[in-house]
Symmetry: D2
Subunit: 260 residues, 4 copies
């Protein structure tokens, strides 16, 4: 099944790369990141406007102060934007410039939110909760679709296991299982899944080789200065190198990157 985000088809024969910073931190940061990932072949932007943080005292995102420059940068690059919402009241505020709403791992079990998203038309990127059974994840999609919105894209982003050396454990089993048992496109977020920037690229290749429909990758112009998830963001140079190798992996399956 193909789900359309702006002009981009996700879930068809091509492979979609969604890239950008964890948090949108400033106009300059977001513009540099967006222009960079576009140049390397990304089809869509990602970027957090409001952030879910374990501590209420951590940086919570720019919120509405970023709206105007986000619109400008979208117009300049011509790329669509995927951004997380955590409350249905945010939808109205940002629906004029966000092309797909992401439900983060922490809200996958927030069925009230899912039901509300089922009553609006924009695509929803539904991340798997870090401890959701695959079947719960697929069932969560039904909470959206039963409201009438079938524009759903699944995204595996790593699960919680006993292992501590990596941030989470990427569960590619879940990706191949979901591809078999669900009609929706399945993406992989290797950045959250491992949390170690120099190990993100091989996981992108693995995701493509396993048959995922795309990846969501955190890219930051200056990773060490990122206000959130600094350890896992790729630099623009590392992202560009990754994209070159990724194209070769896709070529082994007669696939290409999504073209806008």
């Amino acid at each position: 099944m193909v789900v359309q985000i702006g002009k981009i088809q996700v879930g068809g024969p091509q492979f979609t790369v969604i890239a950008g910073p964890c948090s949108i931190e400033s106009e300059t940061q977001f513009r540099t990141a967006s222009e960079g990932v576009k140049k390397s072949g990304a089809s869509l932007l990602r970027g957090g406007i409001w952030k879910m943080r374990t501590s209420p005292k951590a940086f919570q995102g720019l919120g509405s102060s970023a709206f105007e420059f986000i619109k400008k940068i979208k117009a300049e690059t011509g790329l669509g934007l995927v951004s997380e919402i955590t409350d249905i009241r945010q939808v109205e505020e940002i629906s004029s410039f966000v092309d797909a709403f992401q439900v983060g791992a922490r809200n996958m079990h927030n069925y009230s939110l899912l039901k509300d998203l089922g009553k609006q038309p924009k695509p929803v990127v539904l991340k798997r909760n870090f401890s959701a059974y695959i079947d719960e994840w697929l069932n969560a999609a039904q909470y959206i679709s039963q409201g009438g919105n079938n524009n759903i894209i699944l995204c595996e982003r790593g699960i919680r296991t006993f292992e501590k050396a990596t941030r989470n454990t990427l569960d590619l089993n879940a990706v191949v299982y979901a591809k078999k048992h669900s009609q929706y496109p399945v993406l992989v977020d290797p950045s959250h899944a491992i949390g170690i920037s120099d190990l993100v690229s091989p996981l992108c290749y693995a995701a493509a080789a396993a048959g995922a429909d795309g990846v969501i990758v955190e890219v930051h112009p200056k990773p060490s200065e990122a206000l959130s998830d600094a350890d896992q963001a790729l630099s623009l140079e590392a992202f560009d190198k990754m994209m070159n190798q990724l194209k070769k992996v896709l070529g082994a399956f007669d696939r290409t990157l999504t073209m806008a």
Copy 2:
């Protein structure tokens, strides 16, 4: 720290037993359960008005059709009621007859909901998500308290592990750890934690012996006919037997049950 639910003090020297059905299914079922648990010494009622179910097709609770008889039964028994909410829009509807709002495991990471609950005065029973680090759980409480509402009660209800023989894994380590590192009262929900009714009672005794401030126990007049969680509900007879032994365990620590 003591948190007051109606007339009941939770977190003081006494031990609080909150009991009742998983879902409120009918006036008769809820009245029988409420009268029964009161007779055996429960201090507060529990009962779901809206249910969080993995599948949107499963029984979702009676909703507003139960409001009137709930009020009646509360008046008859004189017991306060703890009930789960999953959306801040529910608070207004039920605040006239619910004495504490429970945030279920699936919504512990729903920080929007927690912030909203911080702005209202009623006590919040914050269940630990089945894969939340203890520190995330304690931090989640801050999302409530920073809004001004410090009436928070923590509740451990079992975590997800590799083990499949039991529904979840009761984490009593988390209870003793939270008692040491947090100021809030800590309850245990052994029913969800093990999911096997004849093994619930020994876990109640263990919770008391470990120093928990109380338990939340699922009790159903006819467990085998329960519309949700049938495998883990105690019958009224089993609950009564459990309460008798529980009093002896508390006596070993010079504690008693909470008196209304």
Copy 3:
């Protein structure tokens, strides 16, 4: 079913406390610990002669240099000794003064060792591997019993989960489940299960309240100087205090400590 370790009956109406240091480090350390735990009511000694360590460079135990003084201290105190073996070739060396062989969590799946232990007569304390399904644990016991040795005692010592604040996660569900589904006595090792010394005592009480047949507790005359597991050992004073409260908890179930 009752299993006899020396003069002590494990699995009957009484509750057995096995206590002593993680590693036997010196004659003085082991004598002080042994005399101390005896005075407080322990029925059996524990103490490692060879240690399983993650790194081969860590302290591996005193080995044969400790044999003579262990015999002396056993004679002085009159207490039996439970000690871990990791290789069947160790059995002959120590069987003259060890009263029960412990199979550690790391060797629960070492079926060769279990089969060998099934062909000798001494009791075996079979710890649950930190990621063994309960059913695997019960099946592992069969690897011993099919050789002819039915003197088996199970011991839960914590499992590996996502949680990092505690060393392992004590799984009391497994204890009550094993009590129901297995004929063998079931012990709890709260020291390894939580790994934080001041939280060990409440878990001992919880184990007793849940219906375990006993506990294995790490006690060290000077915990901070222990060569292994320093963070989780009780001092003799803390152990004595724990034993006094434990007797009260057992009293709530009309139980007492095992008498030699």
Copy 4:
């Protein structure tokens, strides 16, 4: 670092495929499997002589009755054999015809066995225990190498997590992490990792794309009749198809299959 198994170099620029049945069940079965996987490009054979089974009553392998025909089939195909041992006493029996000893997941923490294997010269394929921290796995290798045998190959085969839809959870994070932090070659066993035969192939591609040094794959001439692990074995046809696609994936990285 390159480790030699017979004539085959593991850990160099080429990618090694080790294939064959879970258990060696009969001369016909093993010959058909061996000839088949050779024809499709496998470099080494796998096959269990003694099996580790959860229940002592399950099929435990052919043992010594298979020795003669194994030698014959090895001579016919010219391929080396990797086979699991569970006890050091097995080494002498099979060292004349087994080219590398596998330590299964259940014995990774059996340090006695690892030490013994360090004192003999043949290569050891060290599987990661299903709940071993990556660091424990790397440390386990030291238990072998400190005895003098540095011919060690690591193998990730899936870990135990909360997920139940797949047999284990393949941890490719661990593969890229071990490649970075260890000198030893790292293989992947996708068959055990997912336990569902039609999902094994995409995981082979993912392993290659992530940079693993090879895969160990279960192949059976008639998967549905396999005496162990029937659900996860590839047929010879499925294996052949997988190998063709695998070569393309390796080509994207300028790699090829190991040539004998």
